[in-house]
């Protein structure tokens, strides 16, 4: 039962077609039936998207292969696997014909990355080249969920001209994901240039007083630019997923 169905049900309650008791019952029964499935999918709520997501970190290669097979057998075209080790990928490649492993992002994709289903563009910008692993996790997630992604890497604020020279690209974005370690200033600078939501991802890149991403995290939380919000350190998947959610809002009718 996806969001549309739930909404329809609730409107039937309003018009008296369904009693509140029945509606509550239907809503509450729902999770029970879904339960087996929910255990397969640790990333809640992706069911309505074009891709299914598996969090690879705590699973063996065999377990992942099993889940992928089960998903594909139900017709799922694209399966995204995050935090996938190179070893597990080596095993998967022997099991799946349509499998691609993105080493830097530690992401595996079974099936094809779908064509973008909406016109809006997501821009993923990074402060340096070392932030690329996190940025790619975000980018591949957004692409697997049906979005067009523009990568704008190594535009750190210490060389402001690099950001400025891409101002026209930045301004086409419906959402920007700003990925940066060290002082994390990219989020503020980008947030000051665009009018759309900026999702800031601090990375653990840096040394010394970077304290594993804490410096960038605090800087981003304190951004004086409006429209900036923050996800966990190195959480590329979370940023890509949220960016997709926002980017696809324009198409939905409620």
């Amino acid at each position: 039962m996806d969001k549309q169905e739930i909404y329809k049900l609730l409107q039937q309650v309003k018009t008296g077609m369904v009693t509140p008791e029945e509606a509550v019952l239907q809503l509450k029964m729902q999770p029970f039936e879904e339960l087996g499935y929910a255990k397969v999918d640790h990333h809640r709520g992706l069911r309505q998207g074009v891709a299914e997501v598996i969090y690879g970190a705590s699973k063996t290669a065999q377990q992942i292969a099993g889940i992928v097979a089960s998903l594909r057998s139900t017709g799922q075209k694209t399966v995204l696997i995050t935090r996938l080790s190179a070893e597990a990928a080596d095993f998967l490649v022997t099991q799946q014909s349509e499998f691609t492993y993105y080493e830097i992002a530690r992401v595996g994709i079974v099936g094809k990355i779908p064509k973008p289903s909406v016109k809006g563009k997501i821009i993923i910008a990074t402060g340096g080249t070392s932030d690329m692993a996190v940025a790619e996790e975000a980018a591949l997630t957004a692409e697997a969920l049906g979005n067009e992604v523009i990568r704008m890497y190594d535009v750190g604020v210490a060389g402001l001209h690099r950001v400025l020279s891409k101002l026209d690209v930045l301004m086409q974005a419906r959402v920007v994901v700003a990925v940066a370690g060290m002082e994390g200033a990219l989020a503020s600078v980008v947030g000051g240039l665009v009018d759309c939501p900026v999702i800031a991802v601090p990375t653990s890149v840096g040394y010394g007083a970077a304290f594993g991403g804490l410096a960038a995290l605090l800087a981003m939380l304190n951004s004086c630019a409006s429209g900036v919000s923050v996800v966990n350190i190195d959480n590329g998947f979370g940023a890509g997923y949220l960016a997709s959610m926002i980017n696809q809002m324009g198409e939905q009718q409620i």
Copy 2:
């Protein structure tokens, strides 16, 4: 020059109607002309909205009154003033006919809160009644920017039935702002129930190991629910502004 105009300009560049040099020049000159104005408005980029915003914390009552007068004289219908002390409000009420002061939120509004300009609804939920000050700052901000806001206060997770009993309301939201102090679990619970973006606002409510909002902040950053992002502790304005930005995306055509 708003985003649409900029976009138009850049497309003229693509078609050869404008040379890149001219376009860059136009873009770069723009800030110069705006500069005087920008000093008035510390919240960048609100120009396109229905309300103008003044950050009241670092200004005297006289300064605020002056800026309000200047804005009103240019035809601005609604002016929102955040972090406004009761003393400054006492002064403003003697200067402005259409002034309302919201004491709990420490927000003042000159002119009328506009009618919602989009159909989507923003839900602002809080864990406890003590989170209300921050929540109201978010709610009034979103309302002043032309959104319909539904308040859902005191639905903390220790009494889960309160959240569940409002499931139908929650599901109508295009964006949810989850405001909570202490353990900040509200963001995760709400994030697990809805399919739309959740903006989490940690508050400094709590004592002892709450460490002025740090506990809630860390919990929210680590939320295992997808679609959750976080703003600074007690940053009700930031959450309301971002919620408005996302809520109004559906209407924009690119």
Copy 3:
């Protein structure tokens, strides 16, 4: 001299049968005689339970084997070894006929897990599958001490229906151990659903701003649910031991 004997002695003092001086002397002499034994058992006070516990972390396989042999020779039926490395387990299996190694929990048990000696049930719930190592240490500890344990794994709050679908099981608990990393919200949610003591165990699961369990620890300490208390990060043994202590209180008569 166990707690009952001490209590009897002290009542003899009250009734004048024993002078305070004699009583104090008896009490104080006690540790001297026990001393050799106490050095064997680093977990104080387990003597009255059905199992003896060895903390394996700082001991060689040979030392552990020696202590086990010594305990078994005095008639001890069950010996629990926590933080036992796979290497040490490999050695022990060659020394003991009745030895089982639980790899995930890093726990070894010599002898049989006893039948539950009380009717109450301990529920051990986890937020995710990665919290299982800590949860199993708690579960095996409680079982070795004579309790019935119900495992309820992967019921994290981002999928609330999972917790709710097991409400009837939760309500049978005399004690709940809530094991969770990341944002640690499970303790609050469970604490809001049951009427019995909840022992919260933060785990070091998570990344970035989880800071090795600190986020979960702070969240659990700030839980707005009543009846929740917290043990050290990853301290499954401590939680299982305390849960057993509480679960068995109903049987004791004072």
Copy 4:
């Protein structure tokens, strides 16, 4: 619907007397009816106890008086108000005939503290006299909920003889609440002397590197004694409530 009723209902489901659907419906409807009441009582689940509890910190004297009146009119004999300011107490004393204010603990009690309903004793120990405010909040909470409380104040570990001289008293406890600031060693020392659960409450007493209770909190979490768990800094109410819950477990039959 209290825990017994819920349990009965669920057993009817097992025996087929009630369908699962009906049961879920009954369970879920329940919160709706309770909702008005739950808003009155921010401390969930105290309904089954002898006292009702109001958290006074975020309420005006008038609001508190209103809630008290409403509770008394439904026959509630004892009402406990925590974090009650002296000012609010001054007002309440003019409204209620049976009102007592405990200044040190900042607790007010309307009605009589009930006679202990169980035989077990709760011992509340403090490291120093400055920990007394927190300890009294715990003690009065436990007493209002129907427990016998023994106060054992100023038995800090730097004068070990003080603890030892009260060994016989300590050994009668079914639960010990150990309240201490500074280095928080009391929890470990007491935990090493008794066989019952120890609830440790760090206090913000101390200066310099005490960091507002952080030193005591960390020490208590790291206690090498078994059976110790920790609540939030200065959380006397939470400790008293949990102690009562454990102390009364022996009487409950499931």
Copy 5:
């Protein structure tokens, strides 16, 4: 004995005109004679500058007046007093004819601010207007020490055009002092635009996760721009003093 004299002495040692023993003796005796004076002046080594500096925070108005009188009697033309309370200033104004109090900076100056003695310019930039107190302490310090200072306030990175519109001014600087709270990104952005040393001053401006200047401090320490170094939070004096030291290096001949 200033640096030039010391250098001369040491060269006499090299050429054999003075024995090392004599030189060491002369050097070491020096502090003894200066000692009384050094107690007057807590800011070591300002003797060679045009102004003498008094740290006002830990002194009474009377003490400060006494020191000022003593300094003026020896011919000192300008005396700078930092962290001077308004109350102490009220007293000083009655004692000194040529006294000016700068309320925002909490700085008092006795005598005239000297004309710049070098051609180089120091730019003091701030992120917001609330950073002005710290910036003015830096600016007045640098001016009192004989430098030309250009103030460039409220050029925070969230409105990048403000910085860019002053690029030509920025490029004239021999040293830039970048004063900013919140996310502290100004240092990185400015550091990326100029070729001269940038002294970053984090301020305690901000709320929530700004943690009293910690966020800005960490961001500035992690700046990816070269040529940036950092002083203590709110240390305007230190930045102004160091900026003066660097600015005046070009004139010195060694």
Copy 6:
């Protein structure tokens, strides 16, 4: 376009020879042309120095070799590579004839270290021998940029005579770089002895409460000596670069 050219351009604007529009255009076009190059050089603004710098940490040996070849082909005489692993150095030595690897500093230099271009001396002092790796990174950076460097290692404050015995050397410095871990007192002691800027570099040397350089960092930020500023923990390059910038200021004419 270096700083001199930019300055000339801006003066032409002042005199009316160039319109502001043209000037801004020229300035803004500049980055575009440089962009490819800027990607090669992650250390902004070194173009005007005698050496080009490559940050080796995030690059493969092949990538580094490629960049070096490209730089050398444009006539660059000296190339400095920081954070260069021994493995990458082993590869580079097979590719470049004039390559030297400094193992302790993890620095590689292609070409010759140039003769000092200015008379001023930079002193690099360390507290202990274990700070040498960071100190050498600073020293080699400064040398590669054309400065004379005097090394003064192992002069920690616990043996004050070591610092004092080198007082004459210290006094010849135009800039001092003070490198120290543990308690970081060297910066304060040196800052109290010299009249020139002191750049403090905390190192991660130490154990226990050194917390990876945090203790030294805080101590240095709190230095009561004037003229001291701080760079990131272990940031030898940053200190050497800034020291060079300051040391060469005397020669520049504006």
Copy 7:
């Protein structure tokens, strides 16, 4: 029973004159008799000194006066009261003829400061004048306990000549107490100059990254000088007491 008596008793055990049982009994009974007294004296074990100490922070003026009277009636010549507020002192002066209040140190002394009972000298050094409050608490404590104290204030390391000019005084010390805030370097510098124990006291003096004494505390713990140990932030009493204990060791014969 003081330490000498206890030692005598234990030697009687060795020679068989007393059975171990009797000895233990005597030792254990001791605290009971002392108990009333121990409650008066919160600073354990001062009984053998010439002064009795009262910790004034948590007591009313009336309570303090009562304890003083009780002590004086038993013949105690000197009573030291630490953390005594000016208000309480105002009351005490009306009750006691021989009472002196030291305002800076917040210490009151009833009776006369005794003549030094040992030849050794304790030196109390401070980094700045603002550390004087803590230093005086240490100095008065040591004096009240019968020691000769030499004050050496304002000898901070940024003016090294001040320390050096007092080298001869420093070298006469049997113990040095080094009191400093900000960067806390004094402990290391003094520790490197003397051969006796150095007790370091971090103070909460400073601002910004001093973090209430944390910077000084960490620096002192990391001191590379041998013979340095640390007490809590601002703990002048503890340092003075320990210094007295060490200073008087030379006289004791065991």
Copy 8:
């Protein structure tokens, strides 16, 4: 020139036999002559003891062997090497006839541990067996410097009887070194039982919220027992050295 000689010199100044100038010169020249030696010995001031100490952590086996040889050739009987790796020890054993390696303490001793030169005893107590490495470093250091050491291991406060059963031993100590990780309560308990200085050494033993020794460090700094001071986490050498210094004070005549 040792302390006695310096003192003699300074008294000659007092009596006029030596001018202050000559004295200062003699004092200052001293370090020059010692300088080569000082570089050999990183532990300042051990020259007067019976053993010389080498800090092995940052030296190669060859370097250590060289220093040992040099020291032995000047007649040094005992050489202590701390933080010595097993690999370096393997090399040393082939170079030195009288070499012993203590693996747990990571300490090597060349020559014989001298007979105690004073009557006083140092007690080294640990909370658990895992603290033994640090305790042994302290014990061997104290022994090598000529002290009698009594080891009292595994007397953690959770089993209070273990400490109490050794009360007679504890009371013979002139100094106690209390080594403990986890909650660090041992220092407070021991400090409350003895009348002599207690040097507390926090260890990095523990997990979770032990935070690498931080919990124990904070607890020890906040000890409510008098006479307790603290050294760095795991700093066994520092504690042993300071204990030796205090223990030997009784013999020295001034």
